[in-house]
Assembly symmetry: C2
Homo-oligomer: 263 residues x 2
């Protein structure tokens, strides 16, 4: 079973891409809606929550864990890899690879939550792999609440996006990493504001592609292919907003199951 | 000792008013920043967190509990009163009394988080005390994140406030209850947008006044007056944003102590 966790339901953009890439593998999702968002919280708290979420997925039978939350991946993925005896995938590494491959002028923009940008993980990873590439980043803390309110095409949202992207535009980034799983839902307003020639990178599809390669090479990992087995979506708090965003991401009603005994 | 809890640091607007009204009583504050905000969460979750917060305050020696969070007060105050043997004050009852006293045309507006507005508590309490008064309410879920980002005077914030207040203006409210402890920080942009003649009600001062009357009548409650004893401010996660908002509310640096063993 493939286990995926996120601070809430934004990570379902990643779960959906995995389902499309690996339709025969059962997937279990955990969204920590009872304690979301993670972006404004301290690394210590995010690490603590990430450990609990990983433990929950393993208890449910996951053989692979995908951290579908940039805030969690940026501060906790190394520790999760060390502490748990399971392959761990996350959304940052493939985005870094894509950005390095995409940039022509060597100036990459990164937007994300406060936790993600403060961790400086994108700059560090890009510097390690491609020392000539410059990274310009901007924390965008209001975008998660705007997405969660469903204000996907409002004038206010456009103004907020323009303000956040302004410093990146000034630095003439030619590639922009959407460093938060909520942001693909705003792609239509981000693309024209950063510039139509700027390559906008969303790592969901490449995480899924990376995972597919891994699963093909590691068929002995214990992830049985079970045709027709329904995937399961757990959250730590069931709310109308969570149900609405899940339906928006998948294009159909998603049954969210409550799992908060571990909180 | 007077115990005050909130989902985060917004409730410090209430703590500050209590300190001013009752300077000789030691106060202990708990802000659940590790799990904030409460506004988007389900009643079940908010009740669970409110019980834990109350228990923490009582363990620290509180003899009176003030629920300085409208979301928590709206769904949990009755249960907290039943389950704990301690006087419980909250921010809704005094705001209801003030609103009923203030309205001339009998149309009262209420703004708050999704949890507070969905609970319908203001309408129910106003209807019980003054059946002739009509209540028009509007959930304003983006205001807490805007305050927490410090966007107190930005154009985007003004636009969001105008949009949220529009239905209340149409119904010609002459009184507006700020049903969330973050909103007093936006008072300067709310007042001109709802109309300068509309009475804007923030319950912090009246909770404090109510508590002072109670303490004078109940000097045997075990809340010793200890001159010079420092008040203590606990949070479940220490973040830069929490420190900034706390300093903004008190007008001075506040030492936030970490307390999250009970989470």
């Amino acid at each position: 079973m493939i286990g995926v966790f996120d601070s809430g339901v934004g990570g379902m953009t990643v779960a959906r891409a995995i389902e499309e890439a690996l339709p025969d593998y059962p997937l279990i999702y955990f969204g920590d809606t009872a304690r979301s968002p993670y972006g404004p919280k301290s690394p210590e708290r995010i690490i603590h929550y990430s450990r609990q979420n990983t433990r929950f997925l393993l208890e449910q039978g996951a053989r692979v864990v995908v951290i579908a939350c940039n805030s969690a991946a940026s501060v906790a993925s190394d520790l999760i890899r060390q502490e748990f005896d399971v392959p761990v995938f996350e959304v940052i590494t493939p985005a870094v690879q894509q950005a390095i491959a995409a940039t022509r002028n060597g100036v990459v923009g990164v937007i994300g939550t406060r936790a993600t940008i403060r961790s400086d993980i994108y700059r560090k990873m890009i510097a390690a792999a491609a020392p000539g590439v410059k990274v310009v980043s901007s924390p965008c803390p209001l975008l998660v609440p705007l997405v969660e309110e469903g204000w996907l095409d409002r004038r206010e949202t456009k103004m907020v996006v323009r303000r956040y992207l302004h410093p990146l535009k000034m630095k003439q980034v030619d590639t922009l990493v959407l460093g938060c799983t909520h942001y693909p839902l705003l792609r239509n307003i981000i693309q024209p504001r950063i510039g139509k020639r700027v390559r906008v990178i969303d790592s969901a599809a490449s995480v899924a592609a990376e995972l597919r390669v891994f699963m093909e090479k590691n068929s002995d990992i214990g992830c049985d292919m079970v045709a027709g087995q329904g995937n399961r979506y757990y959250v730590s708090d069931v709310t109308d907003t969570a149900l609405e965003i899940a339906a928006k991401i998948f294009g159909r009603k998603i049954n969210l199951e409550l799992a908060n005994d571990n909180l």
